[in-house]
Symmetry: C3
Subunit: 397 residues, 3 copies
């Protein structure tokens, strides 16, 4: 076995992540530091093996079920890639083609699609208090189904974005940071600015900023959350960030000045989102079936957004960051000035300069998802990686 792979295996053998076996992945802050590190390590190991043409297929057959309740390109393809890498065939649950409207329950659907499912990936991020709850309902249903002998295996859930967190995105972002800075050990004292930015489109989910402050505070960094007044994220997530920062020896602060956040920052993540209070109101209106109310709310919010067009990641702002060259992050697609819209989240020249690192950032997502599945499905992941290397099946003959 090559030394690099042996290094990953050695690292895994020092971590305690046995609770991940036959478990699920909802929120990063429900996982221990060791578990988070195990995901990064397995992701790096799987990537390394694929780069060296070693097949990591651990399934001869089996399904990976995907359910997207919002449009998706990169997460859809990342999930498909991850499943394929491990040997699972993706079967999309398209609610429009199903009989779900016939009134069957979540409990029933979850079991009906899972007879041969090893993984279920769900994106459900549109309404506060709904997406994460739905995922738990699904997991409870299949756990019960497995216990009752209905399902031969309990499929593992991978949260592909909920109303609270976007763990596969934020962990891909984080693994990108780790690689760019040459290791997690180099992050202590680094400043990361998670900043709101203007977008002409309304209602972007909160899960990215929430996920970022919930995860990036675990590495001893000084994490600043910046947004105009009224654009708060969920208070629970801020609480998580505060606790994490304390535990990791970093800090978590808030500001309503983008300039302050960017000042001397090592990493910036300027991105639009909707205010939490507005998202809650929208959820209520949705519950009441008040679609006129939702339209009206959206118009108000767009008007409110438009007051903050100055929240843009400009060249000028970038100059104020550490040595003028902070690492720029985005989950993509970004709203780029004069490209995808007139005024947006970022100036075109800034975006262009960071295009390659941005694409690399995205490239970690399939491996993060594959690692989450791998860790849930293998009792001894280190041993399986070793066995795969010894099996030595070529990915490309």
């Amino acid at each position: 076995m090559d030394a690099k792979l042996q290094g990953f295996i050695d690292k895994l053998n020092k971590l305690n992540f046995k609770e991940m076996y036959e478990n699920d992945f909802f929120l990063t802050w429900e996982k221990t530091d060791d578990e988070i590190e195990a995901v990064f390590t397995v992701a790096d190991a799987l990537r390394h093996m694929r780069e060296n043409n070693i097949s990591t297929k651990i399934f001869e057959s089996g399904l990976g079920i995907s359910l997207f309740r919002d449009n998706s390109t990169r997460t859809r393809f990342s999930f498909a890639s991850a499943c394929n890498l491990l040997g699972l065939e993706v079967q999309d649950l398209d609610e429009k083609k199903s009989q779900i409207a016939h009134g069957e329950t979540v409990r029933e659907t979850a079991n009906m699609i899972s007879f041969m499912a090893d993984v279920i990936g769900i994106r459900d991020d549109m309404y506060i208090g709904k997406g994460n709850k739905y995922m738990h309902d699904v997991v409870n249903a299949v756990t019960e189904g497995h216990r009752d002998g209905v399902l031969e295996q309990k499929p593992t859930l991978v949260n592909l974005q909920c109303d609270i967190d976007h763990p596969t995105q934020c962990m891909a972002d984080m693994l990108h940071i780790i690689h760019e800075f040459g290791g997690a050990e180099n992050l202590k004292g680094k400043k990361l600015a998670m900043s709101w930015a203007y977008s002409p489109s309304y209602g972007k989910p909160l899960s990215v900023p929430q996920g970022v402050i919930g995860l990036m505070t675990r590495f001893g960094m000084d994490v600043v959350l910046a947004h105009p007044e009224g654009y708060d994220v969920m208070p629970e997530c801020e609480e998580v960030a505060r606790k994490n920062a304390k535990a990791s020896g970093g800090s978590f602060t808030k500001t309503s000045s983008m300039a302050e956040a960017f000042k001397d920052a090592d990493i910036v993540y300027p991105k639009s989102w909707a205010p939490f209070a507005a998202m809650e109101k929208r959820t209520d209106l949705y519950g009441e079936g008040d679609f006129d109310g939702i339209d009206k709310l959206e118009k108000e919010l767009l008007a409110q957004n438009a007051e903050h067009k100055d929240w843009c990641c400009t060249e000028e702002l970038m100059k104020t960051t550490k040595d003028g060259k902070a690492l720029y992050l985005h989950c993509l697609p970004a709203d780029i000035n004069d490209v995808s819209c007139k005024d947006g989240e970022v100036e075109a020249s800034v975006f262009d300069r960071y295009r390659v690192p941005l694409y690399k950032e995205a490239s970690f997502k399939p491996y993060i998802i594959a690692a989450m599945i791998f860790l849930a499905k293998e009792k001894d992941p280190a041993a399986v990686l070793k066995a795969l290397a010894e099996r030595g099946t070529a990915r490309h003959f």
Copy 2:
């Protein structure tokens, strides 16, 4: 090889099912008793092997084509699971995304999609006289295509529900019954009630009740078909049921009283369906393109349905069954009182008590489909099962 698998192989070796090789599966009553038993046996064997982590992939490559002309969750996922279990990749023929509207014929489409297809699964249940005929047109086309050297292999057809029968559903139901009663040999003299039940939705297919009376009468049971006046099923199916009952030493009777049907029943299957005469009328209106007429007919039928709200599987009725605990069956999703509708097919407490067995009932469908494919694709299925066990490839590495 383990004793259980050897038992399945020994059983297969005693049955005559050689006509199934390179054949199709349209209606259960076109198959001999030995052939039906072969399907159950292979289904059990494949399940046993999967439970013991033995890969049953018999295809390195190949497609399983699915065509759903009606929404579907569980049959879609069952077909996908079955194909995947055997190594076939599902390719869905979405008629909206195809050029079929350009005026190509069934003969042409069937050949064009089949160059590398080993299986075609079709659901087409909406119009009397159409679905089964369509499936035969497809099979005739690919049989001709294979004979003429167009197709290297003749894909096997699996009827995923037509206007006459729902063989994969009814055989899953039946295998569930066999398991619950500890073997087909214990079914003689048992009473099974296939009963109409009220549903607020119009136009449920007849294929389930027709398939149930066509199949369940082959095991020496006393099968009772109960429905309000006017809710007859196809006369040909009743005729099949009568002949089967006679041959198996059971009985087939009809009643217009749900109470009479449930009295002392060992098994009950209360489910809504549309009257055959109305379905025929709808088919005629459809043929004439009279969509206003169809709307009007649907309203009349809903009104007619509403006169029979008392046809519900209540706790009270269940008490009248054998020892008050008949096995409750449903193909799902059920219309559950105060859950999916106000008044429906079954009281919530009854449904809840049977939830686990209902889900188990559904769990047989992927294996039934896989067994149908297996028997059509392997000349000597018993030998192949043995060879797979000896190959010993793990499903999950």
Copy 3:
């Protein structure tokens, strides 16, 4: 190894096609004669191996991305079959389910879907000057992504039909001709008529006639392009045809008489298309967002088409071909008189007589696509074919 496969390998070893490795397939006339012959040879070899139950899976995992910007049955299934034959799982990029509308660029999307993609197949044939350009944009993006370390592999592009050429179709047509005439060496001096034919539907792409005159002129045949006045194809494609004919010792001529084209023809390909000038006009209107203008243009064109209902492949015309039995070709689906429309491209009795060869013509497409992928992905395709034969894994266990 069997002699036939050895023959294909020997033939490959005499050809120079090393430029195809890690390259793409846009237009047939961008490929050398050796490269075209290599595609035919690998297609025949893969088919031979599949017919002899030898697995040609060269990928353990990997995705084949498809993007269809126009409806498709046979090309969709051909691409899916080809990918599956080589071990790639198809993942369809459905632009309606993606976030592409959010304003992301082609460059970004191309990279985001390609992290584990070995192939991208695109059909984009609706607007002059757009489809081929789009494919180049995608290839440039992934080439850059690969160079920049974003993508571990550069996916190969297969043109599944653009505004200029339909290479997978025309090469399948051509391989069919080669098989029907017993080898490319028998085609010198044969007459092929690519003729316009009437269809009641407007706006069929020009890529088939353009592709046919661009490819079939390379084999020493006398290729005649026939169409009513005003139905010209792209001048650049005619230029290609002229040059090819000259180089191959054949000829390329034009006529506005279907009768003249069919006279003594060995091969006829009567098919409707829209006039190039009209397609250009439509593209302009589309660019201006003038959908009323497009509607109006379509009506004018339908009226114009209707003046040429006599351009039909009749029995009478077929009698004037070589011995009255020219090989009739069509890419399917055809507009058949009194079958798919009142007046169309071909009389029903003609179409029926050629049904089997027509279906065989179509059957080459999956293998042509697989060969294009194979040649782009293998550095030494002859050696890999040999290794696959020696590996001897059964496609169907």
